[in-house]
Subunit: 200 residues, 2 copies
């Protein structure tokens, strides 16, 4: 036991990033299932941990709370090694670039459309068409990158792959057909193999 606690919702890709990174690094942790749909992230107790009312939240060994999925996986990978962040400055910065891109240009469209369609059961015609348009643009950008590179941030498997696979592998649940993006599809399988996951 490393003494970590993770507040997470198992259907949230953002939370699974933390689980997969901790598992890859061989860290022990207690997983505290916290359902977004049931409102468990909006209670006063939860907001005392994270005023933003979002999972995941990591509680460190010293009892301090850290939010934002990509900040948490950076923290774990910096602290426990495992080669998930490149040593060289520019290569490491490229990982940062993709982590920020994921949260700004991928998750708000692909994860949000999946949440609306698969969890809130909204019919397609009630979902803002911008989500589809921008989600497809994000997948196209990944397709171009992964046609040239084995992994998202270059030749090596990094945190950028963990962050981006989280919602890309379940993009079909949001109505995005990955068969139009063969390089992305092949990369999803490569990353799932690294993470020892069944195909979603």
């Amino acid at each position: 036991m490393s003494g970590y606690k993770v507040y997470g919702d198992s259907v949230s890709g953002n939370c699974l990033k933390v689980k997969w990174t901790a598992d890859l690094l061989g860290l022990g942790y207690e997983w505290i299932e916290t359902s977004v749909l049931s409102g468990e992230t909006r209670t006063p107790e939860f907001r005392a941990l994270n005023p933003a009312g979002q999972v995941p939240v990591l509680i460190t060994v010293k009892g301090k709370a850290l939010a934002q999925s990509n900040a948490i996986i950076l923290y774990l990978a910096e602290k426990h090694g495992g080669g998930l962040i490149p040593d060289k400055d520019f290569a490491r910065a490229k990982v940062y670039e993709w982590l920020f891109w994921e949260q700004y240009s991928h998750e708000p469209y692909i994860a949000v459309r999946r949440f609306l369609k698969a969890y809130l059961k909204k019919p397609d015609d009630e979902i803002d068409p911008k989500l589809t348009e921008r989600g497809l643009a994000a997948l196209l950008r990944m397709e171009i990158q992964l046609t040239d590179e084995e992994f998202v941030a270059g030749p090596d498997f990094t945190l950028a792959d963990i962050a981006l696979v989280a919602y890309t592998r379940v993009a079909h649940e949001g109505g995005f057909d990955l068969s139009a993006f063969p390089a992305v599809k092949a990369w999803v399988r490569r990353v799932e193999k690294r993470l020892d996951l069944e195909a979603a």
Copy 2:
């Protein structure tokens, strides 16, 4: 001259983060003014630098391109020191947390509403009310944090302050009245002083 080039739009807070960080670190750079409104970020030449079609883009001394404002300032601060990132693991992770929060929960509302109102000149009743609601929620979260702390990520001035001040100091241009957030307002002045900026 350190040999950096920065493609940036001077009215974009995301681009100014890079300018302010480079200036604080005393780095020389060539600023290549690139107007978003005039479509200069969507030309084939620009997309060859950044397929996402967004400024800022940093070109390193070796000619390599790095995108995403917060990735760029992390790269510069890691490479050139200056004390803008804490040494201790958890304190540094808190800076990451706020950088990701800025791009996910602050910029998409406060910067976007400012862009629509001040640059695209949209009347208030044509702007999605969610932008106001979520922008105010972001300012409230900052107000709570800055009531307890001198700077966003704790007692020290860090990259998190540079990233968050960029659009907070011009929030009024997007219709957000900072006088309801006195701790935020006082912090804006403190950070402007550090960055040697006139009040916006």
